[in-house]
Symmetry: C2
Subunit: 476 residues, 2 copies
C-alpha cells in the first residue's frame, strides 16, 4: 500500500495496467476447450503463455508458449489469469510473486464466497502470500477487460476501445454490460470484475478509473465495501471530477442476503449509500439497463440539463402519453416562442396535424423534408433544451408508391441527427413493433452517428432528470 | 338510444358489428394510392364497394364494385369508411342514412378537434343528420379493426383473431398497439379508434366489449369523456366482469391541454379517474407498452397473484438486482422449503453456483438438462407462485464445442415453457445484448408457446403487482 496524499488515502498503485505487455493463462482446461486461453489469445497482441503442469499441446496454440510452471516462462509476465482448483492456488501465487507478475486475476471460486470457514481462511492466506507484491483481482472474479490492448475473458467481446470504465464484483454482470454496451453503441476503456475483492477493491479501482486518462465516465455495480474503507472511498469521491453512475445491489432484505452468498460482501446500510451518492453527486440508477443507457446519453450528448423539451409525435395520442411521462419527471413541454410557432404553423398544413408543443405530424410524416424541417425549426427555439420523438417501426416502410425508400430512410436518419447540429439532445423512441429488421438497420445507422435510439419511453424518460440533476449539482 | 336496464343506462346498440357482411369505402384517393380501399380490401371476404363521384377505374379493383354514390350500390351496406373533405361530409351522411348503413367511420378531421367554432358546429350537424339511424365512429377516427372478419384500415395488420379488445380515440395509438401486439404474440378481437367521439363514445364501446363473447380482456387509452356520461360509465363498470387495463392520457397540465387539441376531449380531474379505477378494480398503467405487456401476461397466464417468486439467474449479481427490484414491488423472494432446497442442492454442483433463492446457475447453465431440472424443481415448491429468470442473449450460443446447438436451444425452450406445466407464471428476461437474431428466433418460438419474453426487468416487474392486486380485489 502507498500513502498517496495528505488525507492518508490508502490506494494500491495500478498505473502499470495501461502498459501490460505479456499475459499468462494459468490452468487452461482441455475439458472447456481452453476457453479462457482462447479468449485472451484472440485479440491480445503481445506474447501470451499457457501454464499447465501436464499439458503438452493445445490446438491452434504455439507449443513454444506452453510451460509447466510460471518460473519456466522466459522474460517478464505483466498479467496472469488463474483458473486452477482452489487447493492449488497458494503454490501458484507463490510462483507469481517469485516471477514478479504485476497483476493476477483469480477466477477460481469457493473462497470467502463459499460461506465456509475453510474458504475464508484460504482467502486470507492467499492475500498474505501475495505479500502486496502481486495485485489480485478476485478470487471469484473474471478480471480485466481492456479492449485497447486486446485483453478479454469471453469470446466476441467488442474490440473497439471506448471512454467508459466499469467496476463490478460480478463477472456475470460485467458480461451482460459488455455485450449490452456494444449493442447500444458505447464502448469501454476498462472493465474490472474483482469478485470477492480480497486485494483490489472498489475503492482502489474507482481511484484508478477516476485518474485514468482513457476513461471519461465511470459506471459501477456495487455490492458493498469493507467498513474500514469508507473514509478512503469518501476521499476518492471528493477528488473525482468524472461523472459516476452507480447501481447498488442488495438494497432489499433478501437482496442483501444474496449479496453475501454471491461475493461475501456486506451490502451495508442503504441509507448510508444514499447519503454518499447525494453528497458526492453520484447518479444512482435502478437496473443494469439504466446504468448503460444513462452512460450512453452522457457519452453521445455530454452532460445536459433538460428543463424544457419539445415533443414530436406522429400520433397525437402517443404525444399526450409522452407529455404525461415527462411532466411526472418535472420536465416541461412548454409552448414554442411566437416566431418559432409561426414558422412551424406555416410548415404543418395537413389536416389532423398540430404545430403546438407537443407537435403532431400525423400523415405529414411521409411528406418529403417535413420531418427534417420541423425538427430543425423546433430545436432553434431558445427556450427548448432538446427533443423527444416517437417513430413506430411500421412507419419506417414508406406506404405510398410515389415515395422513394432510399431518400425516405436517409431523410429520417439526417433528421434524427439534428440534435448534434443544435448541440441539444434529440431522443428517438422507435417502438419495437412489427419491423424488427428495419428497426435494427436504422438504429445501427443512428447509433453510428451517436444518436441513442430507445424502444420504450419508460426506458429513457426516468434517466433524463438524473442527468439534469448531476449537471445542476456539479461544482467544479 | 335504448334504455338497456333499470339503471337507466343509455347505450347505443352495436350488436350488429359481429355480423358485418358488406363494406363501402367512400372517397378513395388516387393521390394516396387508394390507401384505405386497398387496406380494407386486402382481407375482407364479403363484398366491398368503392364510392367516388368521378373515379371510373381503380387498379386491381373490380370495376363493377365502383359507384358514384352510396345509393347506387345494390343490396345492403353494413359498414362504410368515409374519407372525404369535411365540406362534403353532410351529403355523404344523408346518403348513408338513406341507404340504412349501420355503422360509419368518419376518418375526416378538422371538426371539433380543429378548435374552431365552424368545426364544432359541423360536428354537431353531422350528428344531427345521422339521426341515430347510422352509428358513427369519429370524426377524426380510424374506425374498426376486426381481424376475424378481415376489417383493417392499414396494411399488414395482423390477421389472427384474438380475445383482446382495445378502445382508443387516437388512430395513431391504435396503430402502435396493433402492430406492437402482433410482435408481442397477442391478438385482438376488435380495436376501435373513435376519434372525437361525436356519436359512439368510450362508454358505448366499453359496454359493447364488456358484453362481446369474442373479447376476454379489455384495453383502453382514455383521453376523456363527457361529464354527462360519468354515471353511465359507472354503471357499465359495475356490470363488467372482464379485466380492464387502462391508460389515462392527459394527466399532466400540458398533457391535458394537448388532449384538447388532439380530440377535443376534456381529460377531467385526474383524482376522479384514479378513484374510478380503484372503485371498479381497473388496472392502471403508465404507458402503451405497459398496457400491451400487462394484457400479454394475463392472456398467457390468466390472472395470477404473485406473493413469492423464485429468481433464477445465470449471474449472481444480476439475480441480486432482480431481487431488489421485486422487493421494491412487495414481491418476496423467500427461501425454498427444506425438501425442495435439498433437491436443488443435489443438482447444483459446480463451484460458483447457489441453490438458494435467488438461484445462481453460473456456468452450469451450459450443462445438459440443468436448466430444465432446476426450474422444474423450483416450481414444484408449494410456497412459490412463479419464477423470473434472466438469460442474456449471448448465452444463447453454446460456448463449448462439445455442446450440440440444436438440443441446447430446444432444451432452453422446453425449460422456459415449464410455467405452463406447473400453472405458474414463468417470466424470462432475455436481455437485448449482442445476439439480436438468436434472441428474435428464440423469442418467437417462446411466444408461440405462450411464454412472454421481456428484454429489461423494468419492462415487466412493475406490472406484476398490478395483476396481483386485481386478483385480490376481484369479487365475482
Amino acid at each position: 500500500m502507498s500513502n498517496i496524499d495528505s488525507h492518508k488515502l490508502y490506494i494500491k498503485n495500478l498505473s502499470f495496467i495501461n502498459n501490460i505487455k505479456t499475459i499468462a493463462i494459468i490452468g487452461p482446461s482441455k475439458k472447456r476447450d481452453y476457453f479462457f486461453l482462447k479468449n485472451h489469445a484472440t485479440y491480445f497482441k503481445g506474447p501470451i503463455y499457457a501454464v499447465h503442469p501436464t499439458v503438452e499441446e493445445i490446438p491452434n496454440f504455439e507449443k513454444k508458449n506452453i510451460f509447466h510452471s510460471v518460473s519456466e516462462i522466459p522474460g517478464e509476465v505483466d498479467y496472469a489469469f488463474i483458473a486452477v482448483p482452489a487447493f492449488k492456488i497458494l503454490n501458484i501465487i507463490d510462483e507469481c510473486v517469485e516471477k514478479k507478475v504485476k497483476l493476477v486475476t483469480v477466477f477460481t471460486s469457493e473462497f470467502s464466497d463459499s460461506g465456509t470457514e475453510e474458504g475464508t481462511i484460504l482467502e486470507k492466506e492467499l492475500l498474505r502470500r501475495a505479500q502486496n507484491k502481486v495485485r489480485i483481482l478476485g478470487p471469484n472474479g473474471m478480471g480485466l477487460f481492456y479492449p485497447k490492448l486486446g485483453i478479454a475473458w469471453r469470446p466476441e467481446f467488442p474490440t473497439t476501445p471506448g471512454n467508459i470504465g466499469f467496476i463490478a464484483q460480478s463477472g456475470g454482470v460485467c458480461n451482460i454490460a459488455i455485450y449490452g454496451a456494444s449493442a447500444l453503441g458505447i464502448n469501454f476503456s476498462k472493465v474490472f470484475s474483482f469478485g470477492n475483492g480480497a486485494d483490489l477493491d472498489f475503492v482502489d479501482l474507482l481511484y484508478f478509473l477516476s485518474n485514468d486518462p482513457e476513461t471519461d465516465i465511470i459506471l459501477c455495480y456495487i455490492e458493498g465495501i469493507k467498513e474500514g474503507r469508507i473514509n478512503d472511498l469518501k476521499e476518492v469521491l471528493k477528488q473525482n471530477k468524472k461523472p459516476i453512475i452507480a447501481l447498488k445491489g442488495g438494497q432489499s432484505k433478501t437482496g442483501s442476503k444474496a449479496v453475501k452468498t454471491h461475493t461475501a460482501s456486506i451490502s451495508g446500510d442503504d441509507r448510508l449509500w444514499k447519503a454518499l451518492f447525494k453528497q458526492f453527486n453520484i447518479i444512482e440508477v435502478e437496473s443494469l439497463e439504466q446504468l448503460l443507457n444513462t452512460a450512453r446519453l452522457i457519452d453521445f450528448y455530454r452532460i445536459f440539463e433538460l428543463k424544457n423539451l419539445a415533443v414530436f409525435s406522429i400520433s397525437g395520442g402517443y404525444g399526450v402519453i409522452l407529455v404525461d411521462l415527462l411532466e411526472k419527471e418535472n420536465i416541461k413541454v412548454p409552448s414554442f416562442t411566437p416566431e418559432i410557432q409561426n414558422l412551424l404553423s406555416s410548415k404543418l398544413y395537413l389536416p389532423g396535424t398540430s404545430s403546438n408543443n407537443p407537435l403532431d405530424l400525423a400523415a405529414q410524416f411521409f411528406f418529403e423534408n417535413t420531418v427534417y424541417e420541423i425538427i430543425d425549426i423546433a430545436l432553434t427555439d431558445k427556450k427548448i433544451d432538446g427533443l423527444i420523438l416517437d417513430m413506430p417501426s411500421f412507419y419506417l416502410k414508406p406506404v405510398f408508391k410515389s415515395m422513394d425508400r432510399q431518400s425516405f430512410e436517409s431523410n429520417i436518419i439526417e433528421s434524427l441527427c439534428l440534435g448534434h447540429k443544435h448541440n441539444k439532445p434529440l431522443i428517438p423512441i422507435i417502438q419495437r413493433s412489427n419491423r424488427p429488421e428495419e428497426r435494427e438497420r436504422i438504429s445501427k445507422k443512428l447509433i453510428e452517428r451517436r444518436v441513442p435510439v430507445f424502444g420504450d419511453p419508460l426506458e429513457v424518460i426516468p434517466l433524463l432528470p438524473k442527468i439534469s440533476n448531476y449537471k445542476k449539482r456539479y461544482i467544479y
